[in-house]
Amino acid sequence: MDLFVQLTLTGLTNGAILALAALGFVLIYKSSDIINFAQGEFLLIGAYVTYAMIAQFGLPWSFGVLLTMGVAIVLGVVVERLVLRPMIGEPIISVIMVTIGLSSLLKAIVSTIWGNQPRSFPPFIPSRPIHILGATVGADRLWAIVVAIVMLVLFNLFFRRSKVGIAMRAVADDQQAALSMGISVKNIFAWAWSIAAMSAAVGGMLLANIVGAGPEIGGFGLRVFPVVILGGLDSIPGAMIGGVVIGLLEAYTGGYIGQGLNQVLPFVVLIIILMVRPYGLFGQEIIERV
């Protein structure tokens, strides 16, 4: 029972961070039909920039976190403007490949600046152990869950209430119709990329606070795929639920079976879902015509 609670809590925290990374992913796909293979590197940059702000420049953490978010937003806009905009209308393989190239470039930039050694992160979220139902879990992990939930609620409100959010949904639905209603599709793409980079940066911060800033954070980029396929590539609630399900699945298989099975099982699930229900649990089914 203790083990079960422990694993559930671990799974939920990992799931929350996965959901944050998946959220940016879904956002980009929803508004521009682009799949971002560099999402893991956005997490990585979020982690290292926070590290630089707090540990290297010695800023107070509240200020450092805000500045990191600013950096992420700028990064998103720059990437969209320089790399993705020339790709509008290109075949899908070019778009996939350009984000793969981007991920390699970003990874190289991060390792040139900070090296490949993991850095211990000055924890700005308290990590003292808390006991719940006989299991012990660090307070930072619980905070990760709280932050993820708050972010997801905020994003949902943003999409339902704010003008930009509604414009984004319009662009996702039909770019031409949105253009004719006076919405600037280019601006919307820039918004999508900056929000995606920002949500990934928050995920990176939380992750760095738990495990320290290291290059393996970028590996989260690949683990996002089972999450978004499970939830549906264009569904925000899907990203949340997919994140939690995959996080729990990884924790349970890792805890009860072991053998590194937790690394591969999400991908097996991914293939099964693709075979049975390619548009995911909550994704929109698209009918294709010639």
């Binding site: 190239g101 981007l102 690949l222 795929f225």
Partner: protein, 347 residues
């Protein structure tokens, strides 16, 4: 004075080499390839052998991605299947290298077709993700099936022999590798003159229209996966024999990305493009390493950042090619030829 290339017979149109200039260039290229190992030193022979193996792998991927339009991120996994099959058959059962290589090609073709099954329902993005999953699953099996593959430990493969001759130097490997690369290039060029190849191209251009025209999508997509994986398996098997050692690190998702970059930078849907891409992506890191060594004496800090520079250049090259020349090196080569054909009145 030429204004273009025109044919007056169907034979001329169907020929592999259509013009005199093409034939002459082919002969010169073959002469160069034959003379190369006698003049080059060991370092350049090693590079040439790497390019040869990469060419076979890139041709395989190009059949699937460039000609049939099925994006695959599973290249590294499929190469691992080829390398481990060949390595295990030779090291554990003592089979001759050519038997184990052929067995590796067939095994990889079977595995490739198996992971091609989702392609019936998936395309584009979704297929890319499914093949990525295939890559992760294959690599996991390779590293965790300890009794068969030895897990994460390296598998040592003895040197191949042919007609009683030990193939243990780069010079001898050169002939084996480039002969097989030539065979793969020739069969692939000819494959796309048969109805199978034309069906693949039809599927790439518009899959639903192809099905309406009577092409059995499932059958031809699986066939494309199998044929492609056959050559990819050969590239993997040759890696095993050439390096004498098989480790899983050589077949990670980075390799899948590298090969995808080769076919895109070289030119999708082109055998010569596969060769250009393989050569470019193999020689570029080597060039950067040499450049770093040369600069090391004047700028000592260069030494530590070379791996990062290589990674950054890799990403940058992909991005720049896709933005400025999406059709790749093959298009650049064609533009150069066109420029001189129309010279001095090119527009």
């Amino acid at each position: 004075m030429q204004s273009g290339i025109f044919h007056s017979t169907y034979q001329a149109d169907m020929a592999l080499r259509r013009t005199h200039a093409e034939k002459i260039r082919m002969v010169l290229f073959l002469l160069f390839m034959a003379a190369f190992p006698f003049v080059a030193d060991r370092y350049y022979l090693t590079l040439a052998n790497q390019v040869g193996i990469a060419t076979i792998g890139a041709i395989g991927l190009n059949i699937l991605t460039g000609y049939t339009g099925q994006i695959s991120l599973g290249q590294g996994g499929f190469m691992a299947v080829g390398a481990y099959t060949a390595g295990l058959l030779t090291a554990r059962l003592g089979m001759p290298w050519y038997v184990s290589t052929l067995a590796a090609c067939l095994a990889t073709a079977a595995i490739g077709a198996l992971f091609g099954i989702p392609s019936l329902r998936l395309k584009g993005l979704y297929l890319a993700i499914a093949t990525l999953a295939a890559q992760e699953i294959i690599l996991w099996v390779v590293t965790h099936w300890k009794t068969l593959t030895g897990g994460v430990d390296a598998l040592v493969v003895p040197n191949p022999t042919l007609f009683g001759l030990q193939i243990n130097t780069d010079f001898r490997f050169y002939w084996v590798i480039w002969l097989l690369a030539g065979v793969s290039a020739l069969t692939t060029v000819n494959l796309f003159r048969t109805h199978y190849g034309r069906a693949f191209i039809a599927i790439r251009d518009q899959d639903i229209a192809a099905e309406v025209m009577g092409i059995n999508l499932f059958r031809y997509k699986l066939l494309a996966f199998a044929i492609s994986s056959f050559w990819v398996g050969m590239a993997g098997a040759l890696t095993a024999h050439y390096r004498n050692i098989v480790t899983w690190e050589r077949f990670t998702v980075d390799i899948s990305v590298l090969y995808l970059a080769m076919v895109i930078i070289g030119g999708l849907g082109s055998v010569s493009g596969s060769f250009f891409g393989a050569a470019f992506m193999t020689l570029l890191p080597a060039f950067l390493t040499n450049l770093g060594r040369a600069l090391k004496s004047t700028f000592p800090f260069v030494d530590t950042i070379i791996p990062f520079v290589q990674q950054a250049v890799f990403g940058l090259v992909i991005i720049l090619f896709l933005i400025f020349e999406p059709e790749g090196l093959r298009k650049i080569w064609k533009d150069i030829k066109d420029y001189f054909r129309l010279w001095p009145f090119s527009y």
